[in-house]
């Protein structure tokens, strides 16, 4: 191409790099310029910044309200670091983003910082995993300790819960201590629910149903969770399947009850 036969202004080379239109000769020329010139490295970063702010110039638009609801439901259904899915996403993202970072670093300083960053990133990820595992162990231990404390009290009720309708295999119990407005729920054989749906525990007191909270079984269909209660004088506990995490009253099917 004619234009590459002539020396180009450094600015032109930088813009060409950002736009991805440099020939290999131009790329080598830019590399040499960047290596010794901090001012040019700054220029390069500024041009990158320009490239990432372009969308601000687009007409203002907002996604429909249901998108927010769906995002928050997906977030509630998939808490942090919940397993393989999150890890897969992470692996896929790193090459897209860090790959280009590596190119810049190699040009600007001639050192492949990217590998160091990746190692550091992996170390951070390992530490985060360890912290998560510790937090989970602590939560489990807390639940077990509380369960033991509840069972040691004299006024503790064990309310068996049985599956109904399509969940006849589901079984378990709620441990309710008079001294504290909470129940520990221990269930098994609960099938997984599709995204957007949750099991909800309800307490029935004075013929009123009050939502205690939502829960999801683990992959083995088991539940072991402490749920707060509004009224310790409850007569019945029921479990329904709901789309909303905060319904005023049960709308979905009742799948377990303590009164069968």
């Amino acid at each position: 191409m004619a234009e590459s036969n002539f020396p180009q202004a450094p600015d032109e080379l930088l813009a060409g790099y950002i736009l991805g239109d440099l020939s290999s000769e131009e790329l080598a020329e830019l590399e040499a310029l960047l290596r010794d010139d901090p001012a040019m490295q700054t220029e390069l970063k500024q041009l990158q910044a320009v490239a990432t702010v372009l969308p601000y110039g687009l007409p203002v638009a907002q996604p429909a309200a249901h998108v927010r609801t769906q995002v928050l439901a997906a977030v509630a259904a998939a808490p942090q670091n919940s397993g393989g899915r999150a890890k897969t996403k992470r692996r896929r993202l790193i090459p897209i983003l860090a790959g280009s970072v590596a190119a810049i670093a190699a040009i600007a300083v001639g050192i492949n910082n990217w590998q160091l960053r990746q190692q550091l990133g992996a170390a951070h990820a390992a530490i985060a995993q360890q912290q998560l595992a510790l937090a989970q162990q602590t939560s489990l231990l807390t639940n077990q300790t509380e369960l033991i404390a509840m069972l040691q009290q004299t006024k503790t009720q064990i309310m068996p819960l049985r599956g109904m309708a399509q969940l006849t295999n589901a079984s378990g119990a709620a441990i309710v201590a008079e001294a504290q407005p909470a129940a520990i729920l221990i269930l098994k054989n609960l099938p997984p629910l599709p995204d957007g749906k949750s099991y909800l525990l309800w307490e029935v007191a004075n013929n009123k149903k009050i939502a205690c909270g939502a829960f999801r079984p683990n992959p083995q269909g088991q539940v072991f969770v402490k749920m707060p209660l509004a009224n310790p004088d409850l007569t019945t506990l029921v479990v329904t399947v709901e789309e909303s995490l905060t319904p005023d009253k049960p709308k979905g099917p009742m799948v377990m009850s303590s009164q069968i």
Binding site: D11, A15, A49, V53, Y56, Q62, A64, N218, Q222
Partner: protein, 216 residues
């Protein structure tokens, strides 16, 4: 009565997060969270605070959506991508504050994912992968641009774009939003490849001149 307690450890954490969201006064929390910086909110997300992702969504969903809508051309797909970006932000935590601003990260990620979707529409579609798939690599204090509100940022960029000759703006937009290579742009507009290069480079440099005070 003896119950089997060997549940998967993660279930305990899951359920606590869900119940805490349902039961605590989440409106109050959102109010407090909405005053936090992006970096603090990302940390809160990583600690499992679901209110933090709600605040980030409120802050940046419009920006992500308008880019997705411009690139994909329909509301349904743009909403789908917007949802994917924020759910991934929650799950993936690939964003690192020391590599640049969250808004730059979200724009880069949205553009990259939109290009993936455009590419999956047509195997003949060619893409300019390097164009802007870069992040600011050095830890930097917030620039005046980042401190400005979304509306102010939009105003600045629109003003800067208006300073460009139409032909420069056109080639930049074709490369950025349509993912077209420069030779494809040349073919589409019926102009020489060298001209496309010159216009797009000059367009970018002019933009930088007008936005310089805000981004450095």
């Amino acid at each position: 009565m003896v119950f089997k307690l060997c549940c998967d450890l993660t279930i305990v954490t899951h359920v606590y997060l869900i119940t805490s969201m349902v039961l605590d006064g989440s409106n109050h929390n959102l109010e407090l969270l909405s005053t936090q910086t992006d970096a603090a909110l990302i940390q809160a997300c990583q600690a499992g605070n679901q209110g933090a992702i709600a605040v980030l969504y409120d802050r940046y969903s419009g920006l992500v959506y308008r880019l997705a809508f411009r690139m994909l051309g329909n509301a349904q797909e743009a909403e789908d991508l917007t949802q994917e970006i924020f759910v991934n932000l929650w799950r993936g935590t690939t964003y690192q504050a020391d590599r640049g601003s969250l808004s730059s990260f979200l724009i880069t990620l949205t553009r990259s994912r939109a290009i993936d979707r455009l590419r999956s529409r047509s195997s003949n579609f060619r893409f300019l992968q390097r164009w802007s798939q870069t992040l600011i690599t050095k830890p930097a204090p917030a620039t005046p641009f980042e401190l400005a509100s979304l509306e102010q940022r939009s105003e600045h960029v629109r003003e800067a774009l208006q300073q460009l000759p139409d032909k420069h703006r056109q080639v930049l937009e074709l490369a950025y939003y349509e993912g077209l290579s420069q030779s494809e742009i040349a073919a589409q507009l019926g102009i020489p490849l060298g001209t496309v290069k010159t216009w797009s480079r000059q367009g970018l440099l002019t933009l930088k001149t007008h936005l310089k005070a805000l981004i450095e």
